[in-house]
């Protein structure tokens, strides 16, 4: 009876079962409506204190979490690496323990190191939500992508979704692959060989080497941002060349056998991985993704606030 839908932390979609993911998406549905009210606030998390601990730059994710927290009436504090004692060399655990000593309830963490959220979750009592850790996972982005797909296709089983671009550096890609496969969708990736993980096929995904092939196959494209800040090692010859082979353009989409839903986690490099007329076109759901992000994060916060701490360790398919 007292088993919660989620455990103590949300580290990624990999440890969750399909039923748990569906439960989060179902919970997100009624939260969509809260953001449409004149008074966009419900008292569900009144009295909870949440720290948004961001070691990496973020606009969309941090603000989306903050809106989600505030619309549930939680009290929030934002900590950014620059200007805090993190820049004086304090370790992650020390920072978190100090925050915990001030009696907080949850930490939302973004960190450059893969595994940071799990590491932290194992060491503090508070609930930990991963808002992106290195190249590992970005579970709430994966969930909002799933919710957006479900809005359009109702059932994800058998749906063909291709993730296009820099899969190697992308935690969004990994969370999407886990989430989509657990809900029965078919997943493909498309990108230059230098930007695909070597053993990607082992995750059960199809690999396309040209975006034109992906467009022939897919029901939806999730176009990833080319992470220019991580591109110092010569992964691609030039942005123009990348755009010529992997850019999603209207000319290419016109040759598709059906209308393809276009998603992008943002921020976009217009004219590189996606052309402006596609991003702003009739099949783009890039802004609805952002709207869904708030609802999904509200659902995660709400569900975690009722989690039982001893449950998380069990992982996977318990309920």
């Amino acid at each position: 009876m007292s088993t919660a839908i989620l455990g103590k932390d949300l580290v990624g979609l990999e440890p969750l079962s399909g039923d748990q993911i569906r439960a989060i998406l179902d919970t997100a549905e009624p939260f969509k409506e809260v953001s449409e009210r004149q008074i966009k606030k419900v008292p569900a998390l009144r009295g909870k204190t949440i720290v948004n601990l961001f070691y990496e730059a973020s606009t969309r994710t941090r603000i989306s979490f903050e809106f989600a927290e505030k619309r549930l009436s939680a009290d929030t504090v934002n900590v950014q690496a620059a200007g805090s004692s993190i820049s004086k060399g304090e370790t992650l655990v020390d920072t978190a323990r100090n925050l915990e000593a001030m009696r907080i309830d949850m930490v939302v963490i973004r960190h450059g190191a893969s595994g940071a959220a799990q590491f932290l979750g194992a060491r503090i009592q508070s609930n930990v939500i991963n808002a992106g850790d290195g190249k590992h996972e970005h579970p709430t982005q994966g969930l909002l992508d799933l919710l957006t797909l479900r809005d359009h296709f109702t059932n994800l089983a058998g749906l063909k979704v291709c993730i296009v671009g820099d899969v190697l550096h992308s935690r969004v890609a990994r969370s999407n692959i886990w989430g989509l496969t657990k809900l029965g969708a078919q997943v493909a990736v498309c990108g230059p060989a230098t930007l695909l993980p070597r053993d990607i096929a082992e995750l059960g995904v199809t690999v396309f080497r040209h975006v034109a092939e992906a467009i022939q196959w897919a029901d939806a494209l999730n176009v990833l941002r080319l992470q220019l800040e991580r591109m110092t090692a010569g992964f691609i010859p030039s942005l123009r060349e990348y755009n010529r082979v992997f850019g999603v353009t209207n000319e290419r989409l016109a040759r598709a056998p059906k209308d393809i839903l276009i998603m992008h986690p943002g921020p976009m490099n217009r004219g590189v991985e996606i052309d402006s007329d596609v991003a702003d076109g009739p099949h783009s759901v890039i802004l609805p993704q952002v709207t869904n992000g708030v609802a999904v994060r509200m659902a995660v916060l709400y569900l975690l606030a009722g989690g039982s701490p001893d449950w998380a360790a069990g992982g996977g398919d318990t309920a």
Binding site: A4, T27, P30, F31, E33, R37, Q38, A44, Y302
Partner: protein, 186 residues
């Protein structure tokens, strides 16, 4: 196992709802538009039954709404499992209306307290009324129904369950006496 008494069968429930409908027409007369708000879950179906009974007699516009009070509960952190949240749908502007909250069972009053809080976030109705199918006593807050289908005296261990065709396959109200001291004469 605990004996179960059927308090209302389907025809009796129909008669009770008809009487509640005419009382609601009387009590809402002369006000603004009437908004019939069912509380998730079984209050929604009861509001669905009341609406067609009220509408022909009402000289005013009748609007509909549903309310899920889960996010307004005051015991959220005390319960282990997060309850499922259902749809909330209210007219965007409640100012000046007469809101009728419809619920199946009135017990502690905490659900109604939460509903009042939630409605206040949607606007300022001219009046709010409470209509319940069963009032089982046991209030923990100063709340009373304006229209009651059936009053029954119960103890804390008793269970009053309202079934509706749409969700449960039949219309009925049942009372199971719990393990508490027997008696508490009805």
């Amino acid at each position: 196992m605990p004996p179960t008494t059927r308090l209302l069968d389907a025809p009796a429930m129909g008669r009770v709802l008809a009487r509640m409908a005419s009382e609601l027409v009387e009590q809402t007369a002369g006000g603004g538009a009437v908004v019939l708000v069912g509380i998730q879950r079984r209050g929604v179906q009861l509001a669905d039954r009341l609406a067609p009974l009220i509408e022909p007699q009402l000289q005013l516009p009748l609007w509909r709404g549903t309310l899920d009070i889960t996010l307004y509960r005051d015991d959220l952190s005390a319960i282990g499992q997060r309850p499922v949240v259902h749809e909330t749908r209210l007219p965007s502007d409640l100012n000046g209306t007469t809101v009728v909250i419809v619920d199946d069972v009135l017990f502690t009053g905490r659900t109604v307290r939460a509903a009042l809080d939630e409605i206040a976030d949607f606007g300022r109705p001219r009046r709010i009324l409470l209509a319940v199918l069963v009032d089982r006593g046991g209030r923990e807050l100063p709340i009373a129904a304006d229209v009651t289908g059936l009053s029954v005296t119960t103890t804390a261990g008793d269970q009053v369950s309202v079934s509706v065709k749409e969700l449960d396959g039949e219309d009925a109200v049942d009372l199971s006496r719990g393990g508490r001291p027997p008696g508490a004469s009805a």
